[in-house]
Amino acid sequence: MSYFCNNMAVKATMVGERLAATPEHSANGKGKPVRNLSGNTGQRRDLLGIEQLPKDTILDLIERSQKYYQELLGKDALPARTILNGRTVGNLFFENSTRTRISFELAEKRLGATHVTLTPSASSLTKGESLLDTVRVVEAMKLDCIVVRHSASGVPEFLAKHLPDHVHLINAGDGAHEHPTQGLLDAASLMEVLGDLSGKKIVIIGDITHSRVARSNVWLLKKLGAAITLVGPHTLLPRHAEEVFGVHVRHDLGDSLKEADAVMALRIQHERQSSAFLPSLEEYQTRYGLTEARISATSAVILHPGPINLGVELGEGPAYGTRSLVLKQVKRGVAVRMAVLEWLFS
């Protein structure tokens, strides 16, 4: 764990706080809160995205996750933690998720929080109820923190602007915008095996256009000094990616894997995509799939946010072989989410 030592001096700074809501959004022009909601005055911590998170805060969060990760690695029963005793966390999953939801639920339980999970099928928190109604409900139920997953980019930011000061918010993935805890757990996994990420070459393959994982990872890995290459077909790579993200873009794998220190395959969400983006999974696999042959030509470690379409993005060997970080990512996920909760309330 020596690579963390350089950053041990980092303390939780206030710079990680989200900015105060702008008058255009939060007020009706006369300084009154919109629709009598309390509104956020910027005095609390939220985790909305990586883009606006300072590097120091990122490293602090990863460092905080270390002790939790070590516990998960051990064979002993996990210690009963109480730092969130008396706190209630609501997991609002407007969009279906299994892994992320369970990971958050475990993190909340292991820190001693009371928690509830609302999923689309189990609640009215889908169509019909407005986001502002959701804010009112959260306030009335006296939740201390909400974890939000939504199919529309920007929903966590909108909710955060209107939530009262005592309710923290964690973005658990919004549209194609951000998935900050995924970014953090990926970086923590990479740092464990690669050490300092400065100058490391990282290749991200797949559907960049629709991927919040890609965006959070790009922002985060760039802040840590890594050189990033995005690979995917023109149909799944935004035209402005190179300029906006400050990365290299290419449309075939070519020799990009040869020099790579790490390669991240993104999930192809073929179930919700029209055939306009890809002719077939087979064709995708032929061109971009990480097969045994392709992996044998590189020493890069392999990541995937899951769930994997085995035989499409990754072959079974690469997915669970010695260089795969896939299960480490899952373990890191719980630890990072515990760290985020600890940080929010500290």
Partner: protein, 424 residues
């Protein structure tokens, strides 16, 4: 009514008169006399050099009546028009029910009678704006409609659009298109560009607008001798396509909104859903092309696309929020601040695009500031510096990104026949 407007700067694009230090006497809704140092026994108003122009006309507004009176009504919308400096508006047909039946035309006319603001009505091009069957254009024409459009969306089928143009030609209706290739814009919420890439918001590419404009221009030229109008264009290629069509002699015209010559898609990061419109805010390059199109006459009209929405329809995320902003009360301030003051348009050219040209396209009587003519005037203080606030809004809805914005220029009065409104 008898009133003497003293010390005015008369700007009239029809007579090409541009003259300061004039007095204008209005008696019983008519311009009685124009001259220097006139005497009159009625009310006197010293306008201290304010501009008096032919009444401004906004050819693209949504009054939301019938059907969505919670957003706006004819009464509140025309009040916003009047205090925004307009003596006439044309309301778009995406009401509930839509204006594809002459009965709806009469309903709106009834609501709008005895109003200072004249309300023209745009009929639908296809039945219920569904794009499948022609709207009863002759009946709509007989009810007073001079422009047809399925605004809010484009006519998707090229075949139907061809027939719309052929049929509209018989009545010389202005066939107006909201240009959007819907197969490319499903689920989108802003311009496809750097900001949408960063925010992960599905993007509406400029080419989706341009494709329909080029298709329609080709169709209009094929049909021949039909008047085709591009509503609220927003891209540099749209300006080029219209310019080239005009050069070939096609009867093509277009309008631009103040927000499309003011804001870029970067405004989404600052203003969120108040910067969500259709077509979306584009880029600085597009704004520069729009400026050039205004200068060289490619762009005929400035129209606000006044689109009122209730706060619950805007106070949400970008994907589910409604498209559009109110615009009647910020159109003139933006026009003067962004076009006249920086010298992109002369005052005369600006007035032409806000009054003369839209009336001509809608075949409305020409407004001239000449003795004996009806008084139909917009009065502007083009040097007034002020900040736009909630209290300046007469519209029923308050969806605008311009609250708190500093402007130069404001309408201070509107006169239409025997009715007058003054800001003070």
């Amino acid at each position: 009514m008898q009133i003497l407007l003293q010390n005015v700067h008369l700007v009239d694009p029809v007579t090409k008169r541009d003259e300061t230090d004039l007095d204008i006497e209005i008696v019983d809704g008519k311009i009685q006399r124009i001259g220097k140092n006139l005497e009159s026994k009625g009310e006197k108003r010293n306008l201290k050099g304010a501009v008096v122009a032919p009444g401004f006309f906004d050819m693209h507004v949504h009054l939301r009546e019938p059907g969505q009176e919670y957003k706006e009504t004819v009464e509140t919308g025309t009040r916003a028009a009047m205090s925004g400096g307009f003596t006439g508006v044309c309301c778009m047909p995406n009401t509930i029910p839509s204006i594809s039946d002459p009965f709806v035309v009469s309903y709106i006319k009834e609501k709008a009678k005895d109003n200072l603001v004249d309300v023209s009505i745009c009929g639908a091009m296809t039945k219920a704006r569904e794009g499948n069957e022609l709207a009863p254009m002759e009946q709509l024409f007989n009810a007073g409609v001079r422009m047809v459009s399925d605004d809010g969306g484009a006519v998707r089928s090229a075949e139907i659009m061809r027939r719309v143009l052929e049929y509209a030609k018989m009545f010389d209706l202005l066939a107006t298109q909201h240009c959007e290739e819907h197969s490319m814009t499903k689920g989108t919420a802003m311009n496809e560009g750097k900001t949408s890439t960063k925010l992960g918001i599905p993007g509406y590419p400029a080419v989706a607008e341009d494709i329909i404009i080029s298709r329609d221009i080709l169709l209009a030229e094929y049909v021949g001798d039909v008047r085709y109008h591009v509503a609220h264009l927003s891209t540099k290629n749209a300006v080029r396509l219209v310019r080239e069509a005009k050069a070939r002699g096609a009867k093509v015209s277009c309008e631009v909104t103040p927000h499309h010559f003011t804001l870029t898609d970067e405004a989404v990061e600052k203003h969120g859903t108040q910067a969500k419109m259709n077509p979306p805010l584009r880029t600085q390059e597009d704004i520069e092309a729009i400026f050039e199109g205004l200068r060289d006459g490619t762009i005929d009209c400035i129209a606000s696309d006044h689109a009122p929405h209730a706060s619950h329809e805007k106070e949400t995320d970008m994907i589910s929020a409604a498209f559009g902003i109110i615009g009647l009360e910020t159109s003139i301030p933006l026009g003067i601040s962004r076009l006249v003051k920086p010298g992109i348009l002369s005052l005369m050219a600006y007035v032409e695009k806000c009054s003369t040209n839209p009336r001509r396209l809608l075949k409305l009587p020409e407004i001239r500031i000449v003795e004996g003519e009806p008084a139909n005037l917009t009065i502007l203080d083009i040097d007034k510096n002020w900040t736009f606030g909630e209290d300046d809004i007469q519209s029923k809805s308050h969806n605008t990104p311009f609250l708190g914005q500093e402007f130069t220029g404001q309408a201070i009065g509107t006169i239409n026949h025997d009715k007058a409104w003054w800001r003070d």
